[in-house]
């Protein structure tokens, strides 16, 4: 009896903290959905007229065929007051219904378009994140070991300059050099039209070939950030007393490196790793545009140029949800990994 109540007492603060954290996450999502809805609805002009204009200017259609196409889309454009539309959007959002696209092929549910594009973005962003994190950790640890040396200070400046180079610049250079000039990699799309999608070797090879340049663009820009963070974090850990003590105890240096320094130095980077997942989702617009990669960022770009209101909202909100959820998971996992926080809570 005593034991169980004290165990319960131990969990209460955790539960309270979790509830608070969840509440903030939900408020954030609500706030972002509301904000984006009213911003998008504030776009000037009649949607049908805008659609006609878009068809004429983007696809060089003549006015009559543009008009008939736009009018075909008209029934899919929500009517009524903005407030009314807002409330019905919120309700359907909660049901997982994100409205329909008026531009793609008129009437396609936004949800379907998202389901098609999310895996591509996850593939590129996910692998880029893992690769750049792994390389960055190695370089950062190496730099920390020789910190203060010439090579370390050179690399520190070099990486902080590299970090400021926009990823679209890197992507463009890679596209021109390895795509157009050497023709080593395909220049657009996620897979060639002549392979059959499915779990077969030619398809997987083709997909990887298409994903290589987008992933490489991310990796080049992001490695520097991880390396610099890991360097700073490792330098701090190296100064700790328990490292000195472990050395005095005569522990094998491999063990000190891995379980004393490595573990403790990576820990602070973990939160930013989780947060990056969400933010790279949002930042994928440029790279996906450049390689015409059919991911979420490209979908957002299409929605913007075609003024496809609900598609725009759908992509924007799905990115928000991704960011919020990854932040939430980061917080929870951080508590699980770091024993100090686990006991402190």
């Amino acid at each position: 009896m005593d034991g169980s109540s004290s165990a319960l007492k131990g969990y209460m603060p955790v539960l309270k903290w979790f509830t608070k954290r969840l509440l903030i996450a939900l408020i954030t999502i609500y706030f972002a959905v509301t904000l984006s809805f009213f911003v998008v609805k504030a776009m000037p002009g009649d949607p049908v007229q805008a659609l006609i204009q878009m068809f004429v200017s983007q696809y060089y259609m003549d006015y009559d065929s543009a008009k008939s196409l736009a009018e075909a889309a008209a029934p899919f454009i929500p009517k009524g007051s903005v407030l009314h539309q807002y409330i019905s959007y919120l309700i359907s959002f909660l049901h997982g219904n994100l409205g329909v696209s008026i531009s793609y092929s008129t009437g396609t549910p936004v949800k379907d378009l998202l389901i098609q594009s999310i895996p591509w973005t996850v593939l590129v962003v996910g692998s880029a994140l893992i690769i750049s994190f792994a390389i960055g950790i190695l370089i950062g640890t190496g730099m920390a070991y020789v910190h203060g040396s010439k090579i370390d200070s050179f690399l520190a400046v070099f990486f902080s300059v590299i970090r400021s180079i926009p990823e679209y610049v890197v992507a463009l250079v890679l596209l021109i050099v390895f795509g157009f000039h050497f023709k080593w990699f395909p220049t657009r799309g996620a897979y060639s039209p002549n392979v059959t999608p499915g779990f077969n070797l030619p398809f997987i090879k083709d997909v990887l070939k298409h994903a290589a340049l987008p992933i490489l663009s991310w990796v080049i820009v992001h490695v520097s950030g991880w390396a610099l963070s890991m360097r700073a974090s490792t330098v701090t850990v190296l100064g700790e007393d328990y490292i000195t003590y472990a050395k005095i105890r005569g522990l094998p240096s491999r063990r000190i490196l891995v379980s004393y320094i490595g573990k403790n130095a990576i820990l602070p980077l973990f939160t930013s790793f989780m947060l990056s997942i969400g933010f790279m989702f949002g930042g994928s617009v440029f790279i996906e545009y450049i390689f015409a990669y059919p991911g979420v960022g490209n979908l957002l770009y299409q929605a913007i140029t075609m003024r496809d209101t609900y598609l725009m909202l759908g992509v924007f909100n799905i990115i928000i949800v991704a960011v919020v959820i990854s932040a939430l998971i980061a917080d929870i996992l951080y508590g699980v990994i770091d024993p100090r926080i686990r006991r402190g809570a």
């Binding site: 000037p44 463009l172 000039h181 969400g278 930042g283 440029f286 450049i290 957002l300 003024r307």
Partner: protein, 310 residues
């Protein structure tokens, strides 16, 4: 007599200001190789942005001779056109020069707004504490979670503006949050120190404590973050112009990138590289210069190094 005294104190004021803001920072930056390179690059861009458009003729299409459309391969860099011409015969160097002011204006606006909002929110939250802190931190964290780039893209389709100032403000909308949070935590830790307690016990006014006791500790951090905000704004604005999301009124690096990108698809390759390289180098050099400048900014505001130099 009194007039003369006024005059001398005024000239002294000027002399002190020049000493504080130009001579000492100049000496410090001159000692710091990275910072010096950064400063020269930044001033170079400033010069091009302010004076360049008055020296160099406005770029005009179909002016590169001989005009034979539509291939960029016709106009590689030459003596007359140092960076070559684009595919419709427009001088590339002139385009870069005429695209500079808008980039600098956006960077400056975004940097200023980011810094002002970030410092105000961070100082208030950290200094006041309590309910004010909880509310401000809560709002900041919510805005922080919204991914910046998609937000700016969506906003820019609604606020269709040519004004660099408005675009800068648009970009700053989300960028201030990180600065606000770190200023807040620094204020929280400075507040604990003895000299703040002492100032409070001595009955000093709040604005005196904030301006004279807390701010000097933050100023180098704020200056560096101003530059980082400018770097971020250059990244975002050129990127948005590249995507074609922002309306354009003048020559623009992002648009040049986009034109080069679209042309590259049409079979032109490394032979037409000069068209690509011009805007790419313009961006990368500017970003590099600004980042190098931050290495000196830290020292410029460090009181120990200041006394050492003077």
């Amino acid at each position: 007599m009194k007039m003369a005294q006024n005059g001398s104190s005024f000239s002294e004021l000027i002399r002190n200001a020049v000493e504080d803001w130009i001579i000492i920072p100049g000496k410090i930056i001159a000692r710091n190789k990275r910072g010096l390179v950064g400063l020269i690059i930044a001033l170079g861009y400033l010069f091009v942005g302010i004076v360049g458009t008055h020296i160099i003729q406005e770029p005009q299409s179909f002016t590169c001779i001989p005009y034979e459309p539509p291939s960029i391969l016709k106009w590689p860099p030459s003596f007359e056109h140092p960076l070559g011409c684009d595919y419709i015969g427009t001088d590339i160097l002139a385009q870069i020069v005429y695209g500079t002011p808008i980039v600098l204006q956006i960077a400056l606006t975004a940097g200023l707004i980011t810094t002002i909002i970030g410092v105000l929110v961070g100082l208030t939250a950290g200094f006041k504490g309590g309910m004010v802190d909880t509310v401000l931190t809560g709002i900041t964290q919510i805005i922080m979670t919204i991914p910046g780039l998609p937000l700016i893209i969506v906003l820019s389709t609604v606020i269709r503006t040519y004004q660099p100032w408005t675009i800068g403000a648009l970009i700053a909308i989300r960028w201030w949050t990180g600065l606000a949070m770190s200023i807040r935590s620094q204020v929280l830790s400075i507040k604990q120190r003895d000299f703040i307690e002492a100032a409070k016990v001595l009955g000093m006014k709040t604005h005196h404590i904030i301006l004279r006791e807390i701010m000097p500790n933050l100023i180098s951090y704020i200056a560096i973050n101003f530059v980082f905000a400018a770097v971020g704004a250059i990244y975002a604005s050129v990127g948005l112009y590249f995507l074609g999301v922002l309306p354009i009124s003048t020559y623009n690096w992002g648009v040049m990138l986009n034109m080069a990108y679209k042309q590259a698809g049409g079979g032109a390759s490394v032979a037409a590289l000069h068209y690509f390289l011009a805007p790419i180098l313009a961006i990368v050099l500017l970003q590099t210069g600004l980042i190098l400048l931050t290495y000196a900014l830290d020292e410029v505001f460090n009181p120990r190094i200041r006394t050492e130099v003077s």
